[in-house]
């Protein structure tokens, strides 16, 4: 079993909203992963170290890292505990970063299992673990049966079949080259792999859409002070009164309100105005705003067109693809001021409204719906919602990439198959293992073998 040698990562505090969360790594490369992520060379065992963690060169969060050197740790392996702020976004990014550096998602009970196997636990505890794993297997089995019954399951099964077919074509050529069979040219196999890769990419992306649908669309309203952020929020709430449902009883910020439109739930977040300030309280607000921008699914960037460009230019968010620029106050500003700013934003996704008179609020809401709608996968029934599945698909796709590289590099078929088999194993994590016999069966079924 490979699991023993690998490094795994998981959130070890309860999922949900909490002030602080702990992400834990165990395995041989735990320490090197955290060193890479923090640009730190060394951590002293059992000493809490305050440091920063980066995501795509941006500062993601301030964290506290504690390193437990093997065997003096929970699992008996090198363990790293990362205490971060309890935002779902931050937790997911940290786990993603660890995975990018070579860790993989832990299976249910895997930390405990390792602890047991490394002699960190006694028998009664161990039996408890066996039961837990059993129960979880049943649950996982149930979940995967559910998945298999659904459209997504059928679709992934189709992908698996395609991959098995491609592997069969190559194995056919290797094991049955003495037969009177027309072997498939590499260019055709290459095309099939590219198609499959695109399909997988679509599935992977469907995870993001699935999340939007499931958790609601995070829409921070950003802009300089007095550009009309709060008015806009109020306008939404008043206009959509019939359908608006201020989410009660959750732990959300008081400045968050949500409304439904076009089948989606939009979570509007009013933020602190963006400007240079020395006021420490206001600074904190701005820092928070930046975090909202990072986590946003859609940004409403609102401005007062009568103000100079310098007022907002440097606050324009990086991800302009997911930003709607709102030119507010059309009830009071002059036409030339509006024209001037429209010209400036002519390459952007813009809309003109008046938050005060509610002019254009419905148009804006429709625009927001459309913005999400275009992200919808071609077949809305085919959506993956589990992170484990997403990572299996990503791994599958990566192995396909290696195989495609080998084809371009004119490597022999057994080298290409090597990566395709790894891809098949990754994909099979979702649907169950495929054995060599299944591939041979496929060959015997489709090709006339035998002299």
């Amino acid at each position: 079993m490979a699991s023993q040698a690998n490094t795994i990562v998981a959130l070890s505090t309860a999922p949900g909203f909490g002030a602080i969360a702990v992400v834990r790594l165990t395995g041989p490369i735990s320490l090197s992963i955290i060193s890479t992520l923090t640009n730190k060379k060394a951590f002293k065992p059992r000493l809490a170290t305050f440091t920063k963690i980066f995501y795509k060169t941006n500062h993601l969060d301030d964290i506290i890292v504690t390193y437990f050197k093997a065997p003096e740790s929970y699992t008996g392996e090198d363990v790293v505990e990362i205490s971060c702020h309890g935002s779902q976004y931050i937790i997911e990014r940290i786990i993603e970063l660890c995975i990018n550096e070579g860790a993989r998602n832990a299976e249910p009970g895997e930390f405990t299992k390792r602890a047991f196997l490394n002699g960190k636990m006694d028998l009664s505890q161990a039996e408890g673990v066996a039961d837990i794993i059993h129960t979880q297997t049943q649950a996982a089995h149930l979940a995967s049966t559910n998945l298999l019954d659904g459209h997504t399951g059928i679709f992934i099964k189709k992908c698996q079949k395609q991959l098995i077919d491609i592997i069969s074509l190559l194995e056919l050529e290797l094991d049955f080259s003495d037969q009177e069979i027309d072997f498939t040219p590499k260019s055709k196999i290459e095309n099939q792999l590219v198609d499959l890769q695109n399909t997988l990419q679509m599935l992977i992306q469907s995870f993001n859409y699935g999340k939007l649908v499931k958790e609601g669309i995070r829409v921070p309203i950003i802009g300089p002070p007095n550009s009309g952020k709060s008015s806009l929020l109020n306008a939404f709430l008043q206009e959509e009164r019939v359908i608006v449902s201020p989410t009660a009883g959750t732990t959300r910020d008081s400045i968050e309100e949500s409304f439904r439109r076009g089948g989606y739930q939009f979570r509007l977040i009013d933020t602190a105005g963006l400007r240079q300030t020395t006021d420490s309280v206001e600074q904190k607000g701005i820092e928070r705003t930046n975090k909202y921008i990072q986590q946003a699914d859609l940004i409403l960037f609102i401005i007062d067109p009568s103000k100079p460009v310098s007022d907002f230019q440097k606050y324009l968010p990086n991800n302009l693809d997911d930003t709607i620029i709102i030119l507010n106050k059309i009830d009071i500003i002059s036409e030339s001021q509006l024209n001037n700013k429209q010209k400036y934003f002519k390459n952007f996704n813009t809309i003109t409204i008046s938050a005060k008179t509610h002019n254009g609020i419905h148009r804006l809401a429709d625009k927001m719906v459309n913005h999400i709608k275009v992200k919808r996968p071609k077949n809305e029934n085919i959506i993956i919602t589990r992170k484990r599945h997403k990572y299996s698909l990503i791994n599958t796709k990566q192995s396909l990439e290696h195989a495609l590289f080998s084809i371009k590099d004119n490597q022999p078929s057994e080298i290409i198959v090597m990566d395709l088999r790894i891809a098949l194993d990754s994909l099979s994590e979702i649907l169950g293992k495929v054995y060599n016999d299944d591939i041979l069966n496929n060959i015997f079924k489709n090709f006339c073998i035998g002299k």
């Binding site: 079993m1 196997l117 066996a130 194995e171 094991d175 198959v417 054995y435």
Partner: protein, 620 residues
């Protein structure tokens, strides 16, 4: 007559021949019991040894000190390296064999082997004491005692031959079947089943019009199977290619009513990779032609094997159909094609030592394990003898890993996959193909063979010095820098892109069009000369360097799986009582009774979480 041996081998086919030779060479007084002394190591089917993946097995048998490769080299009449247009891990040697000469030479080796007697008789009953083999009862010679019994009965146990609606008993056409042993094993709790295989007609050479066929020769520069073979100059006798047509197919269809295969008379399962011609035309209806190879059965043979035309249809239908094939219009039968059904013992009942889990000292090897092919049988016979010997000597058994040999894959698959049709070796069955090249068999296995006492020291030393030379040369290639002025002329002649600055030699050799010989001028002359003395070594080094990265990846995969691979599962463990694994796993594990966690993890239906639970229970 002597009635007391250490090891007795029942059956003189390819498994039996390797088994009795290995046993005697390992120092045990050995008896081979065969129905017919003149039929030892007969090739029941095609006149060829090796082929895809099978060639790998032959090389491994050779490295382990077996006999097959050497005899195949000295009796081959045409040699071909298959898959040469593919990557190096799937190159595989194959030879057309002189069937008569093969059998003759193997018989001679057996007859000359000290410690080894041959008895013409039929084993009928196994005799046990405390569930341990102590003797075998024979039809004519009574009880003969032994410490270990290796049964290698091939297709002979309750063998039944089918030609159309005619059936006859027999282990091979013209030879009697063997009775008694299956029932005796059954009575001691060993389960048997039925399998089926078939063989095509043999026809008279003078009745073939070869002008209507395509002639096919072997390689001009043939490579031998055995790393011990030197001075290799085999003949290159051709085969001939022709094909069936729609007329052939419609004649064959007329006989379907009388086909034992389609009317359900044959109960045994046949191999799908080796279907009869009737099977092929039913399953692939839209094909209007199938290749037919005409292969000489020996040097200057008057008898040709009609490869591709295996059939159990009535004789007259077979003949009428053959007469529609170009070149065979006037073909005359020597023997018609036939199917044969025989007993086998599902291999989940054996340990990886080939010893049965039920009865101590009883080993089953060869086609009765549910395999097909001379090479598979020989490998299994050899392994059974090595391990029977190890048990008697009370030394560690020889269990080959999947990551070090095709033989390891073969035995492990037989036990864990519980195959439903005759098992044939395929390269795709091996996870680590790149590590199992046929030309590295000596590197992989000779040390173990030497330690077990089967490979003579002089051959082992040859392998060792070859290995040393290989390491030295590879290290040299990986460390030596080469300047553009030195290398560019060579690159230019190969139409490769030129260098601007110096680079290590291995980088140059990694380029697809560059061969060892292209760079050998930069290596110490004495080492290159030395290298030429070893068969194929230049090519081996070239491949080692070219595929270095991929080989390393395979090695690290093996390493990551190695942790629990050999963790033993006690035979006392009752899988049905483990409630924290899935029901399916309970049943599969109970049926197969894996010896190790590695085996358990490869049983279809056993999930990773089941293995985790097992590990936890085993750590108690």
């Amino acid at each position: 007559m002597k009635t007391d041996y250490e090891i007795i081998v029942v059956g003189g086919g390819h498994a039996g021949a390797e088994a009795c030779l290995a046993s005697a060479r390992l120092g045990h007084s050995t008896l081979l019991i065969t129905l017919d002394k003149t039929n030892i190591s007969r090739m029941s089917c095609n006149p060829a040894i090796g082929g895809l993946a099978k060639g790998h097995l032959v090389a491994e048998i050779d490295a382990l000190g077996g006999e097959m490769a050497k005899i195949a080299d000295s009796t081959g009449i045409q040699f071909k390296m298959l898959n040469q247009s593919k990557g190096p891990s799937v190159w595989s040697p194959r030879a057309q064999s002189d069937k008569i000469e093969y059998s003759k030479q193997m018989t001679a080796v057996i007859n000359q082997q000290p410690n080894l007697d041959v008895l013409e008789d039929c084993g009928t009953d196994i005799i046990l004491e405390n569930n341990k083999i102590i003797a075998i009862n024979t039809k004519n010679s009574g009880n003969i005692s032994c410490k270990a019994l290796i049964i290698t009965a091939g297709t002979f146990l309750n063998g039944k031959i089918f030609i159309g609606t005619e059936t006859q008993t027999g282990g091979r056409i013209g030879e009697q079947a063997a009775y008694g042993l299956t029932e005796s094993l059954n009575s001691h709790g060993i389960i048997s089943g039925r399998l089926k295989t078939g063989t095509p007609a043999r026809i008279e050479k003078d009745s073939i019009d070869f002008t209507k066929t395509t002639i096919q020769y072997g390689d001009k520069n043939p490579a031998p199977f055995s790393f011990q073979t030197t001075d290799f100059h085999p003949p290159n006798v051709p085969c001939y290619l022709t094909h069936t047509n729609t007329r052939t197919h419609s004649i064959l269809e007329r006989g379907f009513d009388e086909s034992p295969l389609f009317t359900g008379v044959i109960k045994g399962v046949g191999p799908r990779y080796c279907p009869s011609i009737e099977d092929k035309i039913v399953r692939f209806k839209d094909r209007t032609a199938h290749h037919i190879f005409l292969e000489p059965e020996w040097y200057n043979a008057n008898q040709y094997y009609v490869n591709g035309f295996s059939s159990s249809l009535p004789k007259d239908i077979q003949l009428a159909a053959i007469h529609t094939i170009p070149g065979l219009e006037n073909a005359e039968f020597i023997i018609p094609g036939y199917a044969i059904e025989y007993d086998f013992f599902p291999s989940r009942q054996i340990y990886s030592t080939m010893e049965t889990k039920q009865i101590s000292g009883l080993y089953l090897a060869g086609q009765i394990n549910g395999t097909s092919g001379y090479e598979e049988a020989a490998a299994l016979g050899l392994m059974a003898a090595i391990n029977a010997s190890a048990k008697i000597k009370q030394i560690e058994p020889l269990i080959l890993k999947r990551s070090e040999s095709y033989i390891g894959v073969l035995i492990d698959d037989l036990i864990t996959k519980d195959p439903k049709e005759p098992y044939r070796m395929f390269t795709s069955s091996a996870e680590y193909r790149l590590l199992l090249r046929y030309d590295t068999a000596d590197r992989r296995l000779s040390e173990k063979a030497f330690q077990h006492g089967l490979l003579p020291e002089r051959f082992y030393l040859t392998v060792k010095s070859k290995e040393k030379l290989r390491h030295t040369l590879i290290e040299y290639i990986q460390k030596t820098n080469i300047s553009p002025t030195d290398i560019n002329p060579i690159l230019e002649s190969k139409k490769e892109s030129l260098l601007k600055s110096g680079v290590i030699l291995s980088k140059i050799l990694k380029r697809p069009s560059i061969t060892f010989d292209d760079i050998s001028c930069f290596l110490p002359q004495n080492l290159v000369d030395e290298c030429s003395k070893h068969q194929n070594l230049k090519n081996i080094i070239e491949v080692d360097i070219k595929y270095e990265g991929y080989i390393k990846r395979n090695l690290s995969q093996v390493k990551s799986l190695a942790n629990n691979e050999n963790k033993k599962i006690p035979s006392s463990l009752d899988f049905r009582k483990i409630t924290s694994i899935t029901k399916e796993a309970q049943e599969k594990l109970f049926k197969i009774k894996p010896e190790t966690i590695g085996q358990a993890s490869r049983i279809p239906g056993v999930k990773p979480s089941d293995i985790t639970t097992l590990l936890i229970l085993l750590s108690k």
